[in-house]
Subunit: 327 residues, 2 copies
C-alpha cells in the first residue's frame, strides 16, 4: 500500500471543500490572511486521521469532511498565533502570516480561523446531541492547547522541567487533538464505545510520538528540509524531550555549557553545534527516538480490537510514518 497516495487522495478531497468553505468573505485582506497558511501546504494529517478512523469502523467518509475541516482550521489557527508568540518567520517554507500581513491582521486571521472551525461543525448532518458532544470535545481540546502552549512558553524560562511535565505539556498541546481527530471520526461513524476508545487511544499515543519526533527534527535537518529557522529551539531554550533529559542528566562541564548556551538568544552557530553534541553525548537524542518508538508501538497496539481493513492498515502506516518523516 502506498501511504503517500492514500494520504494525498484524502487531502485532495478535503482541500476542495476547504477552499470553498474559506473562500467567501470580506474584507478580502482578512480572508487572504486566513487562507495563507492553510493553502501554503500542510499534510492534512489530522483531517486524514479523522477520515481514515471513520473508514476503519465502516463509516462513510462524507459524513466526516466538515469535522475534518474544523480540525484543520483549528490546527492552522493555533499555528498562526503560535508563530506570533514564538516570533517565527518561516512555516512550510513560506513567510508566516504575521510576517506577510502584519501582526494585527494575523491575530485577527487566527481568530477568524478559530471561528470558522466552529462554523464548519454546523455543516455536519448530525443529530443535535451528537453535535453538542463533538463540539464539546473540540472546546476541551482548544482549552488544552492554550494551556499546553502556555506551559511550553513558561518552560523556556525554566531549567528544571521534569520529563513528566514535558509529557503533560505535549499531551495538552498536541496529543489530545490527535485523540479528538480519531475519536471524532469514530463517533461520526456510529462506532461502538470500544472502537471509539481504541481509536481515541491510538490518536493520543500517536500524538505523543509525533510531537517527540517533531522536537528533534529541528536538531537533525537543515532549513530547506524543515522550513523552520534552525537552532531556534536551542536559542529559545525550548524544552524538547531531548533538552529536558539532557538538562536533568548533565553534570560538570556539560552542565555549565548547557546553562550558558541553552536559551541564549545570541548563541552562535558553533554554540548551537556544541549543545547539539552534548545532547548526542548524553544519548538524549537516541533516548527521545526510543520514546517516540515506544508510543508509536503502543498506538498501533491499541488498534488490535479493530477488524482488519485497508483503513486499519493506513492507520498503522501513519503511526510508522509519524516517527520517520523528515518534515
Amino acid at each position: 500500500m502506498d501511504l503517500n497516495y492514500e494520504m494525498n487522495h484524502r487531502a485532495k478531497v478535503l482541500n476542495t471543500q476547504l477552499d470553498d468553505f474559506l473562500n467567501k468573505g470580506s474584507p478580502k485582506i482578512l480572508y487572504d490572511a486566513a487562507r495563507h497558511l492553510p493553502f501554503a501546504g500542510g499534510k492534512r494529517l489530522r483531517p486524514c486521521m479523522a477520515m481514515v478512523s471513520c473508514e476503519s469502523v465502516g463509516g462513510d467518509v462524507k459524513n466526516v469532511i466538515f469535522f475534518a475541516i474544523a480540525l484543520e482550521l483549528i490546527h492552522n489557527f493555533t499555528l498562526v498565533h503560535d508563530d506570533i508568540m514564538d516570533k517565527s518567520k518561516l512555516r512550510r517554507n513560506m513567510p508566516t502570516v504575521h510576517v506577510k500581513f502584519g501582526e494585527p491582521t494575523a491575530i485577527n486571521a487566527g481568530d477568524l480561523l478559530f471561528t470558522k472551525a466552529f462554523e464548519a461543525m454546523h455543516e455536519l448532518l448530525i443529530e443535535p446531541h451528537i453535535f453538542k458532544k463533538l463540539e464539546y470535545g473540540l472546546v476541551k481540546c482548544i482549552k488544552d492547547i492554550c494551556e499546553g502552549q502556555q506551559m511550553d512558553m513558561d518552560f523556556e524560562n525554566r531549567i528544571d522541567v521534569m520529563e513528566e511535565e514535558y509529557l503533560e505539556m505535549i499531551r495538552k498541546k498536541t496529543a489530545v487533538f490527535f485523540r479528538l481527530a480519531t475519536e471524532g471520526g469514530a463517533i461520526l461513524s456510529d462506532a461502538n464505545l470500544d472502537q471509539i476508545n481504541a481509536l481515541g487511544n491510538y490518536g493520543e499515543l500517536l500524538g505523543l510520538a509525533f510531537q517527540i519526533h517533531d522536537d528533534f527534527l529541528d536538531m537533525s535537518s537543515d532549513e530547506d528540509t524543515l522550513g523552520k529557522d534552525i537552532g531556534n529551539d536551542i536559542r529559545n531554550g525550548k524544552k524538547t524531550l531531548i533538552a529536558v533529559r539532557s538538562l536533568n542528566k548533565a553534570e560538570g562541564e556539560y552542565k555549565r555549557s548547557l546553562h550558558d548556551i541553552f536559551g541564549n538568544k545570541f548563541a552562535t552557530e558553533s554554540d548551537v553545534k556544541k549543545v547539539y553534541d552534548i545532547f548526542q553525548d548524553l544519548n538524549s537524542v537516541e533516548y527521545a527516538r526510543q520514546k517516540a518508538l515506544y508510543y508509536c508501538e503502543k498506538a498501533k497496539k491499541s488498534l488490535d480490537i479493530l477488524d482488519e481493513s485497508k483503513a486499519k492498515q493506513i492507520l498503522i502506516e501513519i503511526a510508522d510514518y509519524s516517527i520517520k518523516r523528515e518534515n
Copy 2:
C-alpha cells in the same frame, strides 16, 4: 427606578459565577492573564441585557446566566486581542493584558477566553437543538466581529470611507453582538418569534447607538474619565462617524488640515485640538449625537409590542443610558 442599582445587582450575580467559572486552571499565569481584564471592572452591559431581555418576556434569569457569561467572555476576548492590534496601553484605567503579561501570553489568554465562552455554553440546561441554534448565533457573531475589526483597521488607511461603510463596520463589530445578547435572552425564555425579533432589533439598534456614542467619548473626555489614551483615535486616523462625516464634508483649508493631521501618529496636542475644532465647526459632533439619538429612539420603539414590566422599563433606561454615559 434606579438603573444603576438594577445593573449592579445583576452584575453581582454574574460576577460571582464568572469568578468561579474562570478560576480553575493551570498554568496560573495564563488564568491570571485571562482574568485580568474581566475583573478590572466593566459594566457587564451585554450580560445584563441578556438577563433583562429574558425577564422582559417572563423568563427565569437563572437559565440565562451561563449564556451571559459566554457573552462577557467573548467581549473580553475581543478586547484583549483588539488592544494588542491597536497597541492600546490602558483599558478600564488599568494596564492592558499585553502590557502587564507580555504579548504572547495576552494572545494566548484571549484565545482561552474565546474557548471558555464556548465551554460556558455547555453549562446551560437546554435541549441540544436550542444549544445548537444559540451556539451558531455566537459563531456567526464572532465571525462578524473579526470582519468588523478588520474593516475598522483597514479604514485607518483610507480617507474616503463612506457613512454606509462605517455603519456596516459598527454593525458587525458591535451591534450584532448586542442583538445576540437580547435575542439569546429571549430564546432562553421560550419567547415567541415576535418577541425574539423585537428584542433582537432593540439590541442591534442599541448597539449602533452605543458605538456611535462610544466613538465620540474619546473626543470629549479626559484620560481619567475614560481610561483610554486620549487623542489616540485622531492620531490613528480612526474612522468614527464624526471623522467620516468631517472628511466627506470638509473643503479648502479644513480639508488640507484634516488630511495633514488626521492619522498622523506624531500629531501634537495642539494638532489634535485643531482637528477636534474642525469636527465641531463642521457640526459633525452634533451630527453623530443626533444619529446616536435616532438609533436609541428606534431601539426603544421596537419594544412596543412587549407587555409593560419592570424589565421592559430597564431596557428603555439602558437605551437612554447608552447615549448619555461618560465612560
